[in-house]
């Protein structure tokens, strides 16, 4: 079950191209675990790492944290994080700082907890047939649980980030990673307030019961470039050919003689020609209100939020990624 849980996840978040195997192929090329719970999933090596503890003891809880790792925005300072958490929803990881890693922000966006709670007393006098029926029922219910898990993962907000990372070929300033452990690092009250909980109904067996639950961030709007944050127009004042882009280039102003333009090879006025021959940008009448800026925050992905042109170096906004629709396993992971 733990491998199944991790396969459902690592298939999403490992970001690796995995070698596929068709469940209908010959037995020599098909691993039995591909078809556990009647779900033909790709083999996921990452799902089998760090499982030694659970091989020894089924009763240790398995905590799978899905972590969003992002580069801090320009001008962001860690000292400001604790006082202005509304603007900077990520928490500075002091361990990371001590380890000397790059200044990255980490946020746990999903926490999955899988635990097998053993019964104090087992069913006594259970015949082999009864045990077989119990096992079949347990397996059937586990299959149902895995179906629900598979569907639920795709409905959670972090899945959009996963699709964004995998569908677009662009380099993003954020990525998803995971951590598997057997102990809980408790959330702060504020962190827990931002999260929602979903509990799957436990599956009973003759020896205990399997419990699965997830805590997830209900809103990741500050990360996804397809968030509901309205896209504001951005004025680019150093477009190619503009005086600001090429300050050393002399721009000659045409001499107007009786309504016609002479002394210039060009027959029309150019946008950089203004009064007195001086190049100056046109007035920019739009600017987002400071309230909007504070409300939405200078998020980790600066390209997804528009600010006054003077506050940031001008850059082209990220275009929305083109999602590859109706992706099947064969398209994502071509058969070898």
């Amino acid at each position: 079950m733990s491998r199944g849980l991790l396969s459902c996840h690592h298939g999403n978040y490992s970001g690796e191209q995995m070698v596929s195997s068709s469940p209908s192929s010959s037995s020599s090329s098909v691993c039995p675990r591909d078809e556990w719970f009647n779900l033909a999933l790709r083999e996921c090596p990452a799902a089998h790492e760090n499982l030694d503890l659970w091989h020894q003891s089924y009763f240790e809880p398995m905590i799978v944290d899905v972590i969003l790792v992002a580069a801090p925005p320009v001008g962001w300072e860690p000292e400001r994080d604790f006082s202005t958490t509304e603007q900077y929803p990520f928490h500075w990881n002091s361990d990371q700082e001590e380890s000397g890693s790059e200044g990255k922000i980490e946020k746990i966006v999903e926490r999955w907890v899988l635990q097998y709670e053993g019964k104090k007393s087992r069913d006594s006098g259970a015949g082999s047939r009864r045990f077989s029926n119990t096992l079949q029922t347990f397996y059937k219910k586990s299959i149902l649980l895995m179906r629900s898990l598979y569907a639920t993962v795709r409905l959670l907000p972090a899945y959009k980030i996963f699709r964004d990372l995998n569908s677009s070929g662009r380099i993003r300033s954020y990525t998803l990673t995971h951590k598997v452990s057997s102990f809980l690092e408790p959330f702060t009250c504020k962190e827990e307030a931002e999260m929602q909980r979903f509990e799957f109904t436990p599956v009973d067996s003759s020896c205990g019961r399997l419990c699965l639950s997830v805590l997830y961030c209900s809103s990741l709007l500050f990360v996804s470039p397809e968030s509901s944050t309205r896209m504001f127009p951005q004025y680019i004042d150093d477009y190619v050919g503009s005086p600001l882009a090429e300050p050393l280039k002399r721009f000659s102003s045409p001499t107007v003689v009786q309504g016609s333009l002479l002394s210039s090879p060009f027959s029309r006025r150019h946008s950089w020609v203004y009064d007195h021959g001086k190049a100056s940008p046109p007035s920019f009448s739009f600017s987002p209100s400071p309230n909007h800026l504070e409300k939405h925050g200078s998020i980790s992905n600066p390209s997804s939020c528009r600010f006054q042109p003077s506050s940031l170096p001008p850059h082209l906004p990220d275009l929305p990624p083109v999602h590859k629709k109706n992706m099947s396993f064969d398209e994502c992971y071509p058969l070898s």
Binding site: E35, A40, K140, I143, A151, F200, T201, N326, S328
Partner: protein, 218 residues
């Protein structure tokens, strides 16, 4: 065996959204009842920011598409009405009577998808207000955006409703047949509900009449 019934939350949809909404809901239910070996397929909705899962069985996909086509045809003839699509799972049981056998469907689960198909409000260019009017196209665009977002939230709620129901009620699910991908199911759309009931009534009537005739006259 109990027949578990799930009434899904009603969704208000426009005509062009019917297909996507129904595909999402019906395939999600079927995925949770296709307990044979499946190769799941992730499908991104085009109108909403939702990914659902199909079980990958071609026959089932074809069956669902046919029923959705029938439903859309029905909606075109009955506009602006609330409607219900029923997805039922059953077992075939062979019932032995004294002198004949009969295969019967024993329904063990029924899902009711409730839709209210609406038509978009027409935006009139006339205004009784003396104040300058906002561009009706812009207002309509914003209204549609708000409505679309609300529908996406509601659709997501319905999907979670399905998952919760599947999780909470497992005991009534029959044993898995490894030879089949999915439990036998049927999709009933509004125009055929009366016909099916009538057909079942006539069939039962003929059976009983034949039995009585055989008993008393032979």
């Amino acid at each position: 065996m109990n027949c578990e019934v799930c009434q899904l939350k009603e969704l208000e949809v426009e005509h062009f959204e019917i297909r996507e909404v129904l595909r999402c809901i019906l395939h999600t239910i079927v995925f949770h009842r296709a307990l044979g070996l499946v190769r799941p397929k992730d499908i991104d909705l085009e109108l909403f920011n939702i990914t659902y899962v199909q079980c990958g069985d071609v026959e089932l996909e074809k069956k669902i598409e046919e029923k959705i086509d029938e439903f859309i045809s029905w909606v075109e003839k009955h506009p602006n009405k609330k409607s219900q699509i029923c997805l039922s799972f059953y077992e075939m049981k062979n019932k032995h009577y004294s002198w004949f056998n009969k295969n019967e469907r024993l329904y063990w689960e029924q899902w009711f998808v409730n839709l209210h198909v609406t038509h978009p409000k027409a935006h009139s260019g006339k205004s009784h207000n003396s104040k300058p009017m906002v561009d009706p196209e812009e207002t309509g665009y914003e209204d549609r955006g708000v409505r679309r977002e609300a529908l996406e939230v509601s659709l997501r709620d319905v999907l979670f409703q399905i998952i919760k129901f599947v999780n909470e009620k497992k005991d009534h699910v029959p044993p898995i047949n490894e030879k089949a991908i999915c439990f036998p199911c049927e999709i009933t759309i509004p125009s055929f509900v009366v016909v099916d009931f009538f057909a079942a009534f006539v069939q039962n009537y003929i059976c009983i009449a034949s039995f009585l005739f055989m008993k008393f006259f032979l």
